[in-house]
């Protein structure tokens, strides 16, 4: 117990780091995933190709490799940003591929006729998607998007290996001080549980509010 109380500020900082990474990367992943899903169902061929390439590359790259590519690669092209921002970029882009596919599977659950009816009334592609298709798709993608964001929260641990302050990385500081490593990890796990259960609770709430009663 005293591992926690005596190192409260270290844990707390790490916890905040993880929360920050999770929140910002989630927002980026949702925005990009939304955009890429729109691309993948767009009537314009080049957009579809771009969306497909985005998903294929990011979904099939190990996240650690992606971190290396972003944190070590981008500076070579003159793009120097704080490591934390790089970490958000890597996590957000990586997760956006999964969000995109979850959204797209949701779009596919909406009967074809819904989009056709909207188009036959003269709505633009953007309107068809935002007013008719996505609101209906949204209801069925709440659970998979929740799972994806929980995975993101846990994946943020990789950022610790690249000297970004986050929860898992705190074990190094604490074990150097000679504390019991097992208890350190237990408290770290509790920290992750708080984040992931909070995401679960949020998505349970969303599902109860918006989920379809079919």
């Amino acid at each position: 117990m005293n591992v926690l109380t005596e190192n409260w500020s270290v844990f707390w900082e790490g916890f905040l780091g993880t929360v920050e990474l999770t929140v910002f990367a989630s927002l980026l992943a949702l925005a990009l995933g939304f955009l890429m899903a729109s691309f993948r169902v767009a009537p314009v061929g080049s957009l579809r190709v771009f969306g497909t390439a985005w998903v294929t590359v990011l979904r099939n790259t190990p996240l650690t490799l992606l971190f290396f590519a972003v944190l070590l690669g981008l500076p070579r092209f003159g793009l120097v940003l704080p490591f934390k921002l790089f970490a958000v970029l890597a996590l957000g882009c990586y997760t956006s591929a999964f969000i995109c596919e979850a959204l797209r599977s949701g779009i596919n659950t909406v009967p074809r006729g819904q989009g056709e009816a909207a188009r036959s009334l003269g709505m633009s592609f953007g309107q068809v998607l935002s007013v008719v298709v996505l609101p209906q798709a949204f209801r069925s993608v709440i659970p998979p998007v929740g799972s994806t964001l929980i995975a993101l929260a846990k994946n943020s641990a990789i950022a610790g290996a690249f000297s970004v302050t986050e929860l898992l990385g705190t074990y190094r500081t604490i074990s150097e001080l000679g504390y019991n490593i097992v208890w350190t990890f237990v408290w770290i796990a509790v920290g992750y549980l708080i984040v992931t259960l909070a995401i679960s609770a949020l998505f349970n709430f969303l599902e109860r509010t918006w989920g379809v009663a079919r």
Binding site: V44, R119, G122, S124, Q127
Partner: protein
């Protein structure tokens, strides 16, 4: 008789893979005319109907709406689609919107009307199709016939120049078919230009100016209903009519 053509198809061709669904279709629909398209299933009649507002693309030929060639995907196409209403076999009402919202939505989003102005127009139209009392229900709470009448009101709300009906009564219970056909007959009497793909021969006889009989992707006959039903010229039409009129 077609002095003022509103919809024109010239030499339209389309394949679904190997299947040649539309073969050199020429068809003109005049303003105010009601054209009923009939034919055996797989004859291409639904596809024909859907090419008119480009829900199906064509491979060759031209389609003109009010003298303007059908534009490719984009804003111009969306504008044109707003002028040509469509009623589907499976109604396709927006499941997450109330009846009133279904009718108002495109008025606001496409026509740029104010919400209350659109709602007023929607209630008018819902009254016209006999559903004023259902405005606040969701589509799933209505019967098929009621849903289809809402769909007609939704199409009318755009003040279209023409209406396309793609088998509007084929998904309905027999007892609900008439309430939909009655609304369509009223529209025909009011001078709406209509292309109706249907199996309802009674409707074709009573409301159509012309009957277009399709088989294997071609227009086999294009005549007045009286002539077509009493004295079909082609063997194909005779065969078709003998099968459906016997029972």
């Amino acid at each position: 008789m077609t002095v003022d053509p509103l919809i024109e198809l010239r030499g339209v061709n389309k394949h679904f893979g190997e299947l040649h669904v539309l073969r050199d279709i020429d068809l003109t629909v005049g303003r105010g005319e009601v054209v009923v398209v009939i034919g055996p299933s797989g004859s291409g009649k639904s596809t024909l109907c859907r090419t008119v507002n480009r829900l199906e693309t064509v491979e060759s030929g031209t389609i003109l709406i009010d003298g303007t060639p059908l534009p490719a995907e984009g804003r111009a196409l969306a504008r044109l689609r707003a002028e040509v209403g469509m009623v589907f076999q499976s109604f396709n009402l927006f499941a997450h919107k109330t009846v009133l919202q279904n009718v108002s939505l495109a008025q606001v989003k496409v026509r740029g009307r104010k919400r209350d102005e659109a709602d007023r127009r929607s209630r008018e139209l819902l009254a016209r199709v006999g559903l004023a009392a259902q405005a606040d229900k969701y589509p799933a709470q209505l019967s098929g016939g009621q849903q289809q009448r809402v769909a007609i009101a939704r199409a009318l709300a755009m003040d279209p120049k023409a209406l396309l009906f793609d088998e509007p009564t084929s998904a309905l219970d027999p007892e609900m078919i008439n309430e939909v056909l009655e609304v369509m007959r009223q529209l025909a009497r009011d001078g709406m230009t209509m292309v109706v793909v249907t199996h309802e021969m009674g409707f074709a006889r009573s409301a159509a100016n012309r009957v277009v009989f399709m088989a294997d992707g071609t227009v086999v006959e294009d005549r007045s209903p009286e002539e077509f039903f009493t004295a079909p010229r082609s063997e194909r039409a005779k065969d078709f009519l003998s099968k459906i009129l016997k029972h």
